[in-house]
Subunit: 355 residues, 2 copies
């Protein structure tokens, strides 16, 4: 039996508990052993919950229990989550997470600590919810030089843009997204592209080995997109999508941006609608490859968290230090030159406004 | 240094040699060590080839060399390939392959031999060329109960159907596919759906743990598709695609079929054009997830073969026996009942003819 601890019993945490419970036998066959939730850390109380007996509010119980080799950090944020993750790794416990903010801001340091302590820090759920992206990029495409990633990695904005294409006003589309649970009460991070920015920084770090501060990236959201923009795109046989993009240029310089693009209908990203996400990557052997699925939600995200847990349970990585990320702000290029810009326009589409 | 042997220096074998050479440093970083091609087994001669000094024509040299821990079987066919694979596994050498025929007909036995000998038999390249499918299905979606797979997994037929949708006759489209290198000189296996059938049998075996003889599967190809069928589909806002499908029904019975379907445009498979492949899976946690990319070709297929090699080099699987496939013909259901059929029609589309 493999004992784990869940930290944070919110949308994702409860999803992970549900997946590990409902698919217990399937997971046992694949992990080679039962995965047992020993603790659930949360400051809130959940009277009557089926896992009520596992709830604790003191992190030190997890930290000091030698039976716990895997911790799932599903708290979000960068304060307590950072402190607990760091302490768990130093105590030689593997940590899996869905916390994109923490990975985007502190992933380099946490990976280094994991490496130094012979354990893993894994975050499949931090980008694209349930879609397998990080493992395929690190493992299945390991023989490739990945030089370009274009992605729709925010479900809220894609839902809104899809609704606008069907004639809705942005404000109405946002209200509808809220009503359907596809937008947070404060959707600024989504609408203005910051959520996409953190995620593309994570993907760029995996592909290129360099982690950039999300703040250095050129980001434009969808708040200024009008019905006229939509109509204009349609007239040109294009579809507007919020694209998060990372490209390696000459001399290993890297351009990352988030912006709405009027993309060619021949591009498979054009047909990703509603809350779905998709990540299109280009590798020098594989060519174009795309991963598509639900980019958020309790169970899809839990699917990825559980996959990381199973991976740790089954695969003794000989070299857990192979994915160390460097910081090198000098490699960041803010503006494409004319050739690069024309190439982007031809292969992907036209960025809207001054992006 | 990790010494490997390549068996078969054709389209895929030369692609693997090229990827391992061109991306040598990238692969070293990810595998933790250099991958060195020590032997290339082929009965043909390749004067002037950069790997000429590695060419051998006696399999026993590979078999008896204790330095060779990984063998890439890229010969195709089910005679010598089967014999060599079996001998290599029994000699405790890991085997990776692109040989869909061998996996579809003998995968269960070869996985068992691998398990008994503490080594791996891996075949990412056998389905979908360069697209990561098998590792994501086995690893990233390991926490899911996968209950349905719909796939476009033959590039030749998808190229032809795309050309027919653009107004070409089937015969002209096939001629064009041949001219562009997208069809074999004898394209029967592709056109009549047998190639798709082998691949969906492999995917079904991974998802459900049961391997069915390709011969038991209901298979219909595209040779009888007419311009009128195309026009009729278009009028109904549908697109004709050759779909390989595997579904788990009530009581764990399984239906597998290959047939042209007039699929709904809202289905992401509808927009997979030309020689591209895509596999859409449904899991009870993740929902719909799709993998898309080049389903054939020297370098894309080599990308998957190399990924398996890197995986073996880096991941010491604690339990290499977790994916044993059973044979149980009694679980196969040839015809869907009315409810199942209506569900399929609603979610995927209408099968053409008597499929």
């Amino acid at each position: 039996m493999i004992n784990i601890a869940i930290m944070g019993y919110g949308v994702v945490g409860s999803g992970v508990a549900e997946v590990l419970t409902v698919n217990r036998e399937i997971i046992r066959r694949r992990a080679g052993d039962y995965i047992n939730i020993k603790y659930i850390l949360d400051i809130r109380e959940f009277p009557g919950d089926i896992h009520e007996d596992k709830l604790i509010n003191d992190f030190n119980i997890i930290l000091n229990d030698p039976e716990i080799k895997i911790v799932a950090e599903l708290m979000g944020g960068v304060r307590a989550a950072l402190e607990f993750t760091e302490k768990a790794l130093r105590a030689k416990k593997n940590v899996v997470t869905s916390n994109k903010e923490l990975v985007a801001y502190h992933g380099d340091r946490l990976l280094k600590i994991a490496c130094d302590n012979g354990v893993r820090y894994m975050f499949e759920a931090s980008v694209g919810g349930g879609i397998p992206i990080i493992a395929p990029l690190e493992e299945s495409l390991a023989a490739n030089d990945i030089y370009e990633i274009n992605a729709i990695i925010n479900g809220t904005t894609n839902y809104i843009l899809t609704a606008m294409r069907n004639g809705k006003l942005l404000s109405d589309a946002l209200a509808e997204a809220r009503k359907n649970g596809y937008a947070e009460s404060d959707p600024t991070d989504d609408i203005e592209g910051h959520d996409s920015c953190r995620k593309i920084c994570i993907l760029a770090a995996i592909a290129f080995g360099v982690l950039f501060e999300p703040e250095t990236v050129s980001v434009k959201g969808i708040s200024s997109i009008t019905a006229e923009d939509m109509a204009e795109a349609e007239r040109n046989d294009r579809i507007i999508k919020l694209i998060a993009r990372a490209v390696r240029l000459e001399n290993d310089k890297i351009n990352i941006c988030v912006a709405p693009f009027a993309i060619n209908k021949s591009n498979p990203l054009a047909h990703i609608d509603g809350v779905y996400n998709a990540v299109l990557m280009k590798g020098n052997a594989v060519g174009d490859v795309m991963f598509y699925g639900k980019g958020a939600g309790s169970l899809p995200t839990a699917s990825s968290v559980a996959a990381d847990i199973i991976h740790i349970a089954t695969c003794k990585q000989k070299q857990s230090c192979r994915y160390i990320w460097k910081r090198n702000p000098d490699l960041y290029v803010d503006k494409l030159n004319e050739t690069q810009y024309l190439h982007m326009r031809e292969t992907l589409g036209e960025p809207l406004g001054n992006a």
